[in-house]
Symmetry: C2
Subunit: 141 residues, 2 copies
């Protein structure tokens, strides 16, 4: 793949490796459609099995867009986490695609804990079920 053997090359990661990489939680990004095209914003997240849980404010556009699901339905969304080193140009990224749905109060109580960094209300909880989980690692051969 690389024409220059000293440059990093991209390798596909399998599902298990992707889930292992995102397991610690922290900050990721959610991509969604709000009627004016794609948008993408950072969120604090946690992983529960093959789903990604995240919290946001009830008033924001992320929340408004994902709340458009009919009861029991899901809205297509994507989640991304990455970690790259400026100094070496090596790193990895993971993409989780699937359907997002809000959690109800009972589910929130049972859910894996997600700690949002910003103060203020973050009372909209969502779960994104990973239908497609893929990732790539960039590293020197």
């Amino acid at each position: 793949m690389a024409s220059d053997s000293a440059q990093p090359v991209l390798e596909e990661l399998d599902r298990e490796e992707c889930l292992r990489l995102i397991a610690p939680g922290g900050i990721g990004r959610i991509a969604f459609e709000d009627g004016e095209g794609p948008a993408v914003v950072p969120v604090n997240y946690a992983v529960d099995g093959e789903s990604v849980l995240f919290r946001t404010s009830l008033q924001g556009r992320l929340s408004r867009s994902l709340m458009t699901a009919v009861p029991g339905g899901k809205v297509r969304a994507a989640f991304e986490v990455d970690a790259f080193e400026d100094s070496t140009h090596e790193g990895w990224s993971v993409l989780v695609r699937g359907g997002a749905r809000p959690l109800d109060d009972e589910e929130k109580e049972r859910a894996v804990r997600v700690d949002p960094w910003p103060g203020g209300e973050r009372e909209a909880w969502f779960s994104l079920a990973g239908m497609e989980i893929s990732g790539r690692r960039l590293r020197r051969p």
Copy 2:
């Protein structure tokens, strides 16, 4: 965790501050729609005025999705960069939304330089014109 009053708060950033924050280039993420919902992948980018330039491989799904524009047309996409500190929970994010279009060979020659980290061909160049440029800073009051 610290008490409520010590928690970081979110502040909106103005357009000039957003452009200043993303000016150095490096790694950002492009959100796009590929017919199966939103997706989001990391890219190397550079800033040219109020547009974001990025390169990817001609074969990838990002390239295939953005190439669906009619000649002279654009495809809606979004670009995100962020920088957060795990230790302080402070940081910022910038979102650029607008229309993406491929650059032709003549434009590539004149374009701001974008250096992709991965080896191999990255011969699809795109420009995303920032119709909406917004951002938020998370910091302790």
